[in-house]
Symmetry: C2
Subunit: 213 residues, 2 copies
DNA sequence: TCATTTTTTGACCATTTGGATAGAAATGCG
DNA sequence: CGCATTTCTATCCAAATGGTCAAAAAATGA
């Protein structure tokens, strides 16, 4: 048979490497052009191989995209998973913000891929969003809510707090072109360092448990 | 000649209406599918007319997209333009946040269109970003910086403050699917009302000029 | 009314693109 | 070495898609 391996039980080292090369190349292409704008030709060129070879390893363009998205979701959620109810509230949240921001800096392409997916209706992520993600967020929101109740944190809507952290950190990856265009000639330093200082100041001010009228 | 009118000096009322119908339909399609994912057939179907008719009025798919983007940019910036140096700092900023949030609520498709454009490298908006937009932002950032200097506002990086307002307000339009998936069964009220309360609280706490160590 | 212009579309075309086929090159292995 | 399996690619194909064309229908105006 001439069919593709698709997803065999045992993957050789070479197969894993090749798949990795394709995924990396595809990530570049998808992040810039989106799912529809990306072509197998572009991906193949970026990966330095022929188009049928790409299809040989993944079966279809869609399969590459889906694979990318799935492996991304895991890593994407890990910083939030690490937010511990046992730590110091302020430290936990500021650490979370910092880790999320570092992910935006180091995984800008992945962030854009994810953003485009959600933006276009999350056709293949909807279940994860209202499933695993919702469970995780609800759990951590409860932790934050408890902190607020105990007076360790200013009273705040924990869900919207999480949304705001996502929005602000991912903004620096997803809209980097805009951010850079505006900050351009001035500002020699790293934009992410500025962002970290800004976000730390913003949230520590808002979250300190005091002046609760 | 059988060429299209494209952009004649004088546009009849009927022409303007037709163009408007097409633009509205195209906005729906572009917001969901992106530039590449949108097809002339889909746009024509959404507008209730034939594909050649759409081309007759705009010449090309790209022209529709560009027209949409240009008319959007003006409206997009108007809330920031209205931020006045003469008003009360806190009121001005909170009003800006509210107006921006209302735009996210009422112009979600436009927000998504813009987001996709920037996300994919802003190929046809780059000049505007580093031109008009930068000028406007720099101007308003100076206003905010002055307020901070005068002690009317907590010291804060004004550029990043603006970025954070964009990020958080647009998040509710661009990522509405994610937000809704997480907030779903609970929360009967309007998400945007919650967001408004949250953002108002967050920023008024951070911006009040006090506790400056 | 009837010629002229504008609006509208069915049919068609060229290109792009996802993917299939078949076979070549390489690799593994007895 | 010789056979089998895996890896890889040139070539082709069918569907989708942006856009053209010629002509019909509707509106305009003298």
């Amino acid at each position: 048979m001439t069919t593709t391996p698709a997803e065999p039980k045992k993957e050789t080292r070479i197969q894993r490497q090749k798949r990795e090369v394709i995924l990396t190349a595809a990530l570049d292409v998808f992040a810039v052009h989106g799912l529809r704008g990306a072509t197998l030709d572009k991906i193949a060129a970026a990966a330095g191989m022929s188009k049928p070879h790409v299809v040989y390893y993944f079966g279809s363009k869609d399969a590459i995209y889906t694979t990318l998205l799935e492996s991304l979701l895991e890593r994407w959620l890990s910083p939030l998973k690490d937010l511990s109810p046992d730590g110091d509230p302020m430290t936990e949240i500021l650490t979370y913000i910092r880790r999320k921001l570092h992910m935006s800096r180091d995984m800008a392409r992945e962030s854009k891929l994810f953003a485009t997916e959600i933006l276009h209706g999350a056709p293949r992520t909807a279940e994860t969003l209202s499933g695993d993600l919702k469970v995780l967020v609800d759990e951590k929101a409860a932790v934050i809510a408890a902190w607020s109740e105990e007076g360790k944190l200013a009273p705040i809507d924990p869900h919207h707090l999480i949304f705001s952290i996502w929005a602000m950190t991912q903004h620096y990856a997803d809209f980097d072109i805009q951010v850079r265009a505006i900050l351009k000639p001035a500002r020699e330093g790293d934009i992410f360092d500025e962002a970290e200082a800004f976000l730390t100041a913003l949230f520590s001010r808002s979250l300190h448990p005091e002046a609760v009228e």
